[in-house]
Amino acid sequence: MKKGLSFLLAFTCVLVISLNACKTGDNAPTLTPYTLEIPSGLPAMGIPTDNPLTVEGIALGRKLFYDPILSGNNTQSCGGCHRQAFAFTDSNTQFSTGIDHLPGVRNAMSLVNLGYQKKFFWDGGAADLESQVVGPIQNPIEMHEDLGDMVKKLNAHAEYPALFKQVFGGSTITSVMVMDAIAQFERTLISGNSKYDQYLRGSATLTAEELRGMDVYQQESKGDCTHCHSLGSTFSDFAFRNNGVDSIYSDAGRYRITLLGTDSGKFKTPSLRNIAVTAPYMHDGRFKTLGECVDHYNTGFHYAKYLDPNIANKIKGRMSAQDKSDLIAFLNTLTDYEFLQNPKFGKP
């Protein structure tokens, strides 16, 4: 009986060993799948099947996001210009400065609810979140690092090889693994608990001023913000539009990507979530305050060629001083303090 059992055991071992010999590549890493908690009011988030979220992958991405090792001289991380307290923008900086002390030409974008967006950067040049990751790393006026050198540094690091191996398997860290890990972390940066969200759920009350502001936001004859910054949910349709900040373009925006004349001066409609803490505003950070932004849409916009029709047909000066201050009061309800302070999103 005992002998029979040991034979069975030996048989099983041989079977398992033989079957494993058929597999190629490394052993599948043991990973903990991660399910995003989506606040009510926001839609389900599509996750690419080739980069599923895992607890370990997100933790690795977070570590990388805050690690200056990704820059050419090891001085600047993603988080250096995308700071949580400012909804992952660069505080009050119009143009962030790269490792070579060169200023950029566009304002650092907020990293919020990225999993709902199809294209990244102000001009949509990055076609998916993973592809976006290497843009700032490589850009000579940003983190200015060669991807080959970046990977060499990571492979020679005391901790990273084991962490990457755990998440992605394989014996060598590749640039694609870096892209996947950071994208995983970035997809967790979900904001949906502002005062406005709480009001929708019945757990907060908006003041009379804020409620009037919400009305201005929606009324076509007043703010008419909703056509582009859809009320609620993501607060943007993420389409590319010319909002008339210039009539002659120093920055051709989306045109640079599509080389289509009609895309001249078009930029991605940003989300208005946490807008009170993401100053300055517009693709080039030209407006310091929300007041200046509202003034732009009320009176300041240029009748640029390809100006978005939602703006082109608006009467200048349609919002009163009262409308404007009410609107700003409403925009201030879009700040999600929980998001700005959530320790899960901070430097590990």
């Binding site: 048989f11 592809s131 892209m179």
Partner: protein, 247 residues
């Protein structure tokens, strides 16, 4: 009893391991190695010196020459085609990147090849890809997702004889070039075979459009002027490749 057990276990190991292997038929396929010779009007490219002259009369040199060859397709004598859906980065600075191998080409007669200079649109809108398409290969832009199909960097001499930098980064969907070459029938019989194709860099700068480096010397495929340059280069590339030899 012990001996029987040992024999049985050994037998199992022997029986199970070969079951992993594919069936080994007589070789109906050949390994075809495709190599590109990078030349300027018949002279193999030597990186560095300003040693070449284009059709516009601009003396120039090559410090870096890299390009993508993809979707390599063999045309059989009966006209049928086999697309290998491969992606290869040719790099003039690295002899290990002068070509690529197709390991299982069906034996038979072939009369031509087709391939893309560049990356098909389906693979040109994410850089989250490995192998030849790994972004680490430095054939991407930082601001626009997609691959640089063709890169030539070096120096040229301008009209006053000054040495100036030359940077051509050619890409975007509109830049994709379909190359089709035909040749006298070749026969694959199961033995390793080697096909040489030529790339004449000067042909990229002439016919139908002469590229004058005094006008076009820095192109990144992101402005209106770049769009015109892309169109010209696209047409020029059509005759830049040719069949050289088969052995």
């Amino acid at each position: 009893m012990r001996t029987i057990k040992f024999v049985l276990v050994s037998l199992l190991v022997v029986l199970l391991i070969p079951s992993c292997k594919k069936k080994d038929d007589a070789p109906a396929v050949s390994k075809l190695n495709v190599q590109f010779s990078n030349e300027v009007d018949g002279k193999p490219i030597v990186l560095g010196p300003i040693a070449y002259t284009n059709a516009s009369g601009n003396p120039y040199g090559v410090d870096l020459l890299k390009y993508y060859i993809s979707n390599f397709t063999l045309v059989k004598a009966d006209g049928s085609e086999q697309n290998y859906k491969n992606y290869a980065l040719i790099d003039a600075s690295d002899t290990s990147k002068f070509g690529f191998s197709l390991d299982t080409v069906a034996n038979g007669d072939y009369i031509g090849v087709k391939f893309l200079l560049g990356i098909d649109s389906a693979h040109n809108h994410t850089i989250n890809q490995t192998g030849a398409l790994d972004p680490m290969n430095a054939m991407i832009w930082s601001w626009n997702t997609g691959y640089i199909f063709f890169k030539h960097e070096g120096n040229y001499k301008n009209t006053t004889g000054d040495t100036k930098p030359l940077v051509f980064h050619y890409g975007t969907d509109a830049a994709l070039v379909h190359i089709s070459l035909s040749f006298p029938t070749i026969h694959l019989s199961g033995k390793d075979a080697l096909m040489h194709l030529k790339f004449n860099l000067n042909n990229a700068y002439t016919t139908p459009a002469n590229i004058d480096f005094n006008v076009d010397n820095f192109r990144q495929s992101s402005t209106m002027a770049d769009a015109n340059w892309i169109e010209n280069m696209h047409d020029n590339f059509a005759d830049a490749f040719s069949f050289a030899s088969f052995e």
